[in-house]
């Protein structure tokens, strides 16, 4: 018994030594000519679909464009934080200290992006936010650059659009957490400034099993429309119960930022969702040739439709590539962030750029209506608000 124990011990030590030596050799060989991107995404937990889409999009981009840029090999190190900020922080620390990454990227939810912000500042490396959508994020570190969206962008636009299109009384139903409150406040500001009236305001708990009582309250308030923001994933439940309760037949429309009709889930929501009007940055039905190619390639590689999270990831890795091209492969974090500021390019979602002032994304916001195209449900764009900046920054 003891004999065996000793043996395994010896073997394991030998293995460890060999492994460490091997790693060190690999690391020193790579340090010169590689760029490491630490990707922190929720790959498990309720936000896993966000992580999956971004990971897929990055894989797709690197298949299309190759993994070498400015003479350097781009290496992605993926870590799962399950959208728990504590884990995000640990993951970011490990990536920065042990793996010596040149970028941290991803961040499925706002608290995760905020948790990593001080580390990006300290390590002086760019933090590319590819999902989280609260306005304040880019203000928390001069190294944060965002390629997704802010809720203020779509919520103010839908507010403006609603008052101009005959919607006077609105009841709101938003999830009670930072992005939900952002969406609600910016919508309210613009909607009431235009002369609209919010007749009922309900905040639902984030983990909400059943919308029935809230929807009944909406129905009894008899508004022209309901403004909805629920995190991706709950949209389907909401729409089903909206139809079950007959709100569609009572003539109450659904409006909101596009999260509720995310392409990822839209096609499973059933016909009740037809006619829902949302403002958002991306629809898989965006009519540009570039988007058609993107959607086709994504579908071929992963078997389903890309959503706005996928396109944010796709643009995020593009921004990293472009920054490296501009610095000629220099991996100094401050130079990389400088290189990212003011970048302009054509994305599958349309023309976008990085605001040099705020490092936040400037993009078109589209007003879309859910329609049936070739037997599938799509958000069909019918109006465009061009080059929308984030309106939610607290002025400094």
């Amino acid at each position: 018994m003891f004999e065996r124990h000793k043996h395994t011990h010896k073997y394991s030590w030998a293995a460890v030594v060999a492994a460490v030596a091997g790693l060190a050799a690999v690391a020193s060989a790579r340090a010169e000519d590689s760029v490491k991107v630490g990707l922190i995404l929720p790959m498990t937990g309720g936000q896993a679909s966000t992580g999956k889409q971004i990971e897929n999009a990055i894989k797709l981009y690197m298949q299309q464009k190759g993994d070498t840029v400015a003479g350097k090999k781009v290496e992605i190190i993926l870590k799962d934080d399950a959208a728990i900020p504590d884990k995000t922080k640990t993951a970011a620390q490990e990536l920065i200290v042990n793996d010596k990454v040149n970028f941290i990227a991803g961040f499925g939810v706002t608290p995760a992006a905020l948790a990593a912000a001080p580390l990006a500042t300290q390590a002086k490396i760019p933090e590319v936010v590819m999902a989280a959508g609260t306005s304040i994020i880019t203000e928390r570190s001069p190294y944060i650059v965002r390629t997704s969206f802010t809720l203020a962008q779509s919520s103010t636009i839908i507010g403006d659009w609603a008052v101009k299109n005959g919607i006077k009384k609105v009841a709101t139903l938003t999830s009670d957490y930072a992005p939900g409150n952002d969406a609600l406040n910016f919508f309210k500001q613009h909607f009431t400034a235009g002369g609209g009236e919010v007749v009922e305001e309900v905040k639902t708990p984030l983990a909400n099993p059943d919308f029935a009582p809230f929807l009944q309250r909406m129905k009894d308030a008899k508004p022209d429309a309901i403004f909805v923001f629920v995190p991706a994933g709950q949209g389907g439940n909401f729409m089903k119960q909206y139809a079950e309760r007959g709100l569609d037949k009572a003539g109450i429309k659904v409006i909101g930022p596009g999260d509720v009709t995310d392409d990822d889930l839209l096609n499973n929501m059933g016909d009740a969702v037809l006619g829902t009007v949302t403002a958002h940055l991306y629809s898989a039905a965006h009519p540009s040739q570039m988007n058609k190619d993107f959607v086709a390639a994504y579908k071929k590689a992963f078997g389903n439709r890309p959503g706005f999270m996928a396109v944010s990831g796709y643009d995020g890795i593009h921004l990293i590539y472009e920054a490296l091209k501009k610095t000629n492969g220099d991996t100094d974090g401050t130079k990389l962030v400088e290189a990212m500021k003011g970048q302009k390019w054509e994305s599958p979602r349309g023309p976008i750029s990085i605001d040099p002032e705020t490092r936040d994304i400037v993009q078109n916001i589209y007003i879309r209506k859910v329609e049936k195209v070739d037997g599938e449900l799509y958000n069909v764009e019918f109006a465009t608000f061009e080059a929308v900046k984030d309106l939610g920054k607290t002025k400094k």
Binding site: A212, F214, Q216, N237, R245, G270
Partner: protein
């Protein structure tokens, strides 16, 4: 007035659903004295089986429901025979650790096989929408839940109180040694009961997909609700959990309707108040085991 009735109806439907989901847990926890935190995993199994049968294989919804029950029960009995029975005599902590591990494994397995997105079961048209009954909006699907769950409850109560199996089960629970001395095959009775509880959870899972949403995290998300039902109801009979489910369902719906700002707290506040008033639950045994 109609608002009150509509809320009452929604609350009863929600409560009934909670009951079918949780009553299996009341049986294992209360009757068999086994802490089974993996209960939600069986509910999820039933939900996914129903989803695959209806959406992918084109089964009618009502034909798939019994299959949801059978499959969850079959997995339940397989696990009971191979794993659970070794833990009956272990401490509650061991049982908790074991079953929570099982829960995480089920979450990962379903995530791997079916993906992490939420899924829906395609319902027949007859179950969709609402109709008006004297001005009260009655959801068809919720009405079906009330009917199915109501029948189940009556059936369960009859089986437990009136049949030979019911008395064997109660005997096996009260004193396993004496019961086996009288020739009752206690392990068999337990295995059957456990499987039946799992089957009920599976049925509940299939029914709840439409209302609660079904994704791989179902067992973790709703574990707390199951436990609330069992603690509030007390675990000595099924009447307790039944009344507790109704009370919590109605309370939750009414709370969210009338005081939406306080909505999420109502169910917990009710639990705390009831437990202060009766620490063993509404129908708990006075001597806690």
């Amino acid at each position: 007035m109609t608002a009150i009735l509509t809320n009452l109806f929604d609350g009863v439907a929600y409560g009934m659903l909670l009951f079918v989901l949780a009553c299996g847990l009341a049986v294992t926890l209360g009757l068999m004295n086994f802490v089974n935190l993996a209960h939600g995993a069986f509910a999820m199994t039933g939900g996914y089986v129903c989803m695959v049968l209806v959406n992918r294989m084109g089964w009618p919804f009502f034909a798939a429901l019994p299959l949801a029950f059978v499959s969850a029960a079959a997995i339940g009995i397989a696990l009971e025979r191979t794993l659970y029975r070794h833990l009956y005599t272990r401490s509650h902590l061991d049982q908790v650790l074991f079953t929570i591990g099982l829960t995480f494994m089920s979450v990962a397995a379903v995530d791997y096989i079916q993906g992490s997105s939420r899924v829906f079961i395609n319902l027949p048209d007859a179950l969709q929408g609402q109709f008006d009954l004297f001005g009260v909006g009655i959801g068809r699907y919720r009405l079906m839940i009330i009917v199915i769950c109501g029948l189940l409850t009556v059936g369960l109560q009859m089986v437990l109180a009136k049949t030979r199996f019911g008395s064997r089960l109660r005997a096996a629970v009260d004193d396993p040694r004496a019961a086996s001395g009288l020739g009752i095959n206690v392990p068999q009775v337990f295995a059957f009961t456990f499987a039946f509880g799992c089957g009920l959870a599976g049925l509940g899972g299939a029914l709840s997909a439409e209302i609660l949403g079904l994704d791989p995290y179902f067992p973790l998300k709703f574990m707390i609700y199951f436990l609330i039902v069992v603690t509030v109801g007390g675990s000595s009979s099924i009447t307790g959990p039944f009344l507790a489910s109704l009370l919590l369902g109605i309370g939750d719906v009414a709370g969210k309707y009338y005081v939406p700002k306080m909505g999420p707290f109502v169910i917990y506040t009710m639990m705390i108040v009831i437990l202060i008033w009766r620490p063993n639950g509404l129908f708990g045994r006075t001597a806690a085991r």
